[in-house]
Structure formats: C-alpha cells, structure tokens
C-alpha cells in the first residue's frame, strides 16, 4: 500500500471523510511536499497548498456529486493529481512571487546532510522527472498508478523514470569526482 494510505477501520474512515480538517491533517505532509518540490518557493507552495484543500472541500460539498470518492486511495490519488496541476497552473501565471525563493539547501538544512544533499539534487531535476521519482520512490506508487494520476502512458512513465535515474547517476558520479 502506498505511503500514508492507511485506515483499516471503516467507521474511522467515514468519520475522517466527512471532516475537512481531519483530511487536512491526514494528507497535509504529502500535499505540502508536492507543493514544495514543484513550486520551490515557500510562499507559493503555501498558496498552492491552501488552494488544493479548498478544492477538496468544494469537491466534498458538491451537491451534484454526493459520493465523490470511493475510498481513501481515491482521495489520495485525486489530491496528488490536483496538487501537481495546481502547481503547474500557478507556475504559468505571471503573478508568481520572485521575492523569497526556497533556500537551495532547503532539505539539507532539515536532516542528515549526505542523503538530504542527494534529495536536493533529485528535486532540482526537471518537473517531469522529479515528480515521477517522488511518486515512485517516496509514495511507492507503481508506474501504472503514476501513469493514471498524471494522465500519461505507462511507457512514458517508465522512460521518464529511467532517464531520471540516469541523470541522478550522472549527478552522483560528478559529485564523487568533485569530492575526490
């Protein structure tokens, strides 16, 4: 089961689904991560984060669609898709802030320097690569599932994954050369 998608208890699930604040608590980290790695700007990421949950609230309260989600996995996949799209839309608008960029070593400053440094490199990859890497390795989705979420073919996701790995490998080799 992908990371974060837990709740075997049906009663608990129905309780959670009826309450936006519980859903925010549950998926907050995931949405925030996606916003941060896509926007690379803290304030923009926070705006995107709020927009995503507002959209979720609207979806849950849409009278024309009384049963919008089949299960928690459905909610999670929906949130991933909407977050990525939201970030894409915001990036394309002219009103993006240019004042406070995310610290280049945003992740490095938060955890052990070696692995965090590599994570920084990974997230610096082009969007089409780091999104796939994140969903595959961090959220542990299969390429099929990622393809569904991003409305791309399974082959395209596999190719992106392979190219992303090659890029990371190159970065790591260059890094070890620099260190020696």
């Amino acid at each position: 089961m992908p990371k974060g998608g837990v709740s075997p208890d049906a009663d608990l699930r129905s309780d959670i689904c009826s309450d936006i604040s519980a859903l925010i608590d549950r998926y907050s980290d995931m949405v925030y991560h996606l916003c941060i790695i896509n926007m690379k700007h803290q304030y923009d990421a926070e705006d995107a984060y709020q927009d995503v949950f507002l959209k979720l609230h609207l979806k849950l309260n849409n009278k024309d669609d009384t049963d919008p989600f089949e299960n928690e996995e459905h909610i999670k996949a929906w949130l991933i898709r909407v977050t990525i799209n939201q970030c894409k839309t915001m990036k394309n608008t002219a009103s993006r802030r240019n004042d406070v960029q995310l610290d280049e070593n945003f992740i490095s400053s938060a955890s052990d320097p070696y692995h965090a440094g590599i994570a920084d490199y990974i997230l610096e990859l082009p969007d089409k690569y780091h999104q796939v890497i994140y969903l595959f390795y961090y959220e542990q989705y299969s390429t099929n599932e990622i393809a569904d979420m991003l409305s791309r073919s399974d082959g395209a996701i596999r190719t992106a994954l392979t190219r992303a790995r090659k890029l990371i490998k190159k970065i790591l080799e260059r890094r070890s050369k620099d260190e020696t």
Binding site: I20, A22, I36, Q50, H57
Partner: protein
Amino acid sequence: MKHDDSLGLLIKESLKSLDNIKPDESLKAKTLERIAKYNLTQTTAKRSRLNYKRISSVAAMFILMCITFSILCPKYTPQKEFNHYNDNLSTCSQSCGNNTAYYDHSYNKSPNLIDDFVEFFNYSGKALMTDKEKKSTVSYSYYNSFNSNIISCLEDGISNENVGESIVIDESNKYIGEWNDNKNWVSSCSLKSLSALSSSIDSSGSSTVIKLPTDGVFGMTLTDRIKISVISNGIPVNRATVIGYNEKDCAVYKAVSDNNGRAYLFNNVFDKSADNKIKYIEVSKNDVTETINAGADIIDVDLSGTAVEADEKILDLMFIINTKSSMKDEFETIKNSISDIIQNIRSQNPGIKVRLSINFYRDKSELYLTRPFKFFENTDIAINIMKSQSCLGSGDYEEALDYALVNAVYEHSWSDNAYAKLLFVMNDSPPRQTVEANARIIDAVKTATEQGIRIIPVTSSGTDTVTEFLARSLATATGGTYTFFYKNAGDIKYDVKNTVGNFKLYEFTEGITKIINEYLQ
C-alpha cells in the same frame, strides 16, 4: 517496474529526508480559515439568490397548508398535549410527597443517597417518558450529604434561592449547571473542603481514594481570600487594577475588577514557602489610586473621581475545546449552539462588539497539541472554523490543557479596552500532574488574573474530582465561574454533583448566554 538496486535504495533513503519537512500548524489553520471564509461568502451569495424564490414559495406553501389544515383538522386543540403533560407532573409530585420535584435530603442521611436519587429520578422519568415530547421534570437544586465539611459550609454560606422550583427537561437538549465558588465563599471552606472531600470520595459517590497533592492541586491553594468591591459614586467600577503587596512592598497578587466592581485576591496561592501574605492593597483606575490595609476579608474601595464606563462595549470571547473522542457530544452541543449564543448576546446587549476566538487542543501523541485561531470580529468566520472541526483520537486520560491555557493567554491579542474577557474551557480531563505542567498552569492563571481574563470551565458530566477541582480553581482564581454538563435522568447516578451546593440547571445555550451576560450587564 522495480528499482530496488543500490541507486534505487539510495534515492529512497535520500527522499526520506522529506519526512522532516512538515507544514507549519499555522498553515493548516490559515487553510481552515480560508475554507470558513469561502463558506461564508457562498452562503451570503446563495441567500440573496434564493431570496426571491423563497418568498414566493413560502407564500404558496402557507396558503396550501391553511387549506389542508382546515380540511383535515377542524377540531385541533393544541392545549390537549399540554394538559396531559401537567397531569403527569402532578402525579409525580404527589408521589414524591412534594408540591414540586424538589428533593430535600436530611443532612445526616448517608451513604446510600445516590440510590435514593436514582430511584427518585427513575420514577419521575418513567412517569413522564410516556409523553410524546419525551420531557421529564427534575429539580435543579440539590443538597450535599456526603461530607460534613461541605455541609457545614452550605449551612452557613449558601442561600436557598430558588430551591423548590422545577425545570422541564427536554431530552433532546443538553443542560449545564453552574457553581460559583467566589459567590458562595465561606472562609476556610469551599475549595479547601473539596480537597478534603476528594481524598475520600469521588464524584460518583464511591469510596475510591483519589490522590491529590497535599499542597493543593496543580500548585494552587485557594483558601485565604480577600474580596474587593470597587465603586465610584455608588457605581461599580469595571477594569480597575487591584494589586496586593506583601510586607516587603512586593506585588504578590494582581487582579482586575469585573463589571460589578469585584476583584478577588488570594494569599499564598502559588508559593506557600515564601511569606506572600498581602499587607496592603492598591486600587487604581484612570490616574485615581487608593491604598488600603488588608485587614479584612471583604473590603470596599471608593474610587470617587474616576470615570465610569461610557465607551464602546467590547466582549473578547474565547473558547478552548478539547477535541478528543470523549468530547464528541459536548463538542456537537457547542457547535449547534454557538450561533444562537452570539446572536443572543448581541440582541441582549445592543451596540456590543463581539470578538470571537475558537481554539482546540488534544495531546502530544495526537494530530495536534493545540490548534489556535485568532480573534475574529466577523464571528461567522470563527463559527465556521468551529464547524469544520471534529473530535478524534483516544489514548491516555490526561490532555494538554496546560499548553492550551498558555497559548490562550499569551498567543492571542486580547483587547486592552475590552469590557469583559471571557475564556471558556471545555474539557473532561486534567493535564498531566508534572512540575512543568503545573508551572504552565500557574503561569497562565497568574497572567489571566492580571489581565482580567475570566476563566469559565465547562466540564463534561461525570468528570473526576481532580478535573473538577482544577476547573473550580481556575474559575475562582480568575474571577470566573464553574459550569458542568448535566446528563438526563437515565444517567443521574453519575451526575449528582456531590461536591457543590445548590445549583441551578440551564439549557446549554440559555446557560452560556446567561453567564456571559452576567459579565456584561
């Protein structure tokens, strides 16, 4: 596709660094605030869109109803049900040997009083349950008979105001009782007696021994009190600063008078080791200062010359609510009542400006410790925030009330010129009894008292004596009042408050409105 080779594992390991990056709790709060604001704008827009449609459809429905009613129910008499109800009431009253449902125990009768209560209420419950509206009648006045200390206090200090009146309980509503230790104060009694009581008996009447710290609960010992009444030309002075000094001219206790001009100072509350006994008191407002010796328990101070309130009335109203699963019923009650409470306050206090802040807390191992929201002048936003929350989580008994209190007092912008600052605390369990938690509580209580923030706990029915003691201490120290949920006849065994004197029951909305009004009018 699998990539569990060394590169894949390295990527996985590296991305784990993201675990440390979490959104700030304030971002979640902002998001909820935005959703609440959105709901509000949508409701307003929808309302205006539907206005025209509604008027025409209501008129049509009314005409249709009139026609249907006149055809189907030509002999309808609404008094019939009412009379039936009255018959039941009189049957019950006769069986109890009383003209009302008032139940008066002799003081010495013990220890099976609980059973008597149950029998009595079961009887009255049965008699009235047949009513279609499921209404029952109980007394709102009790006497305590469990402990001689309490009884002697009650005999001396408690008035029998309203004893004998009855209240009709609608089982679909929630009720609260109120007990104000400051109003019912008897020297060396009240809370001290509660402490004595709690060491031998719990709130359900069993003989369980509850261990309380010997130096008071949560570091507070509220037994030695001085009541100050501040007036100016015969009119009570609100928001006068009252400071108690010890022999060394150190300020040891500071309070602010309420709308009745009352302020309460306590000797040796927080630190029994130091000699913090109050020797003299300084009362001031608007550059007028009076100094008096602290020789008596009750002191009147005349601040003639100081202006009596004439400016805009501002009410700072805050709720801090424990949102663990055990509070689900109580939380639903406040959610359903808060709009009416605010509306009542506005209609009964014309021109008042209400600032509302809603805050939530759980515990360290839960989704959040505290979830605070600022004061909103547009109270609908705060109400929407409240409605977006729910109760979840179980775990251990104690909760982070200490953190919630500190946050409430320090992290919010209370108005300097508020006519009343009221902090309602809805909880059903105490914080942990650790040195750090005690320090946080004492700190919050001291500051609340100094700023004139009145703490008004609303505890769940069936809370234990430690929680009750803390709630009453918070209320007493800050000039607030203690309230508690009261369940209906079926659960009476756990709801007889054997630790307070005669108390009055109110329907929840009515009770909270009445309490708020007492600090405004």
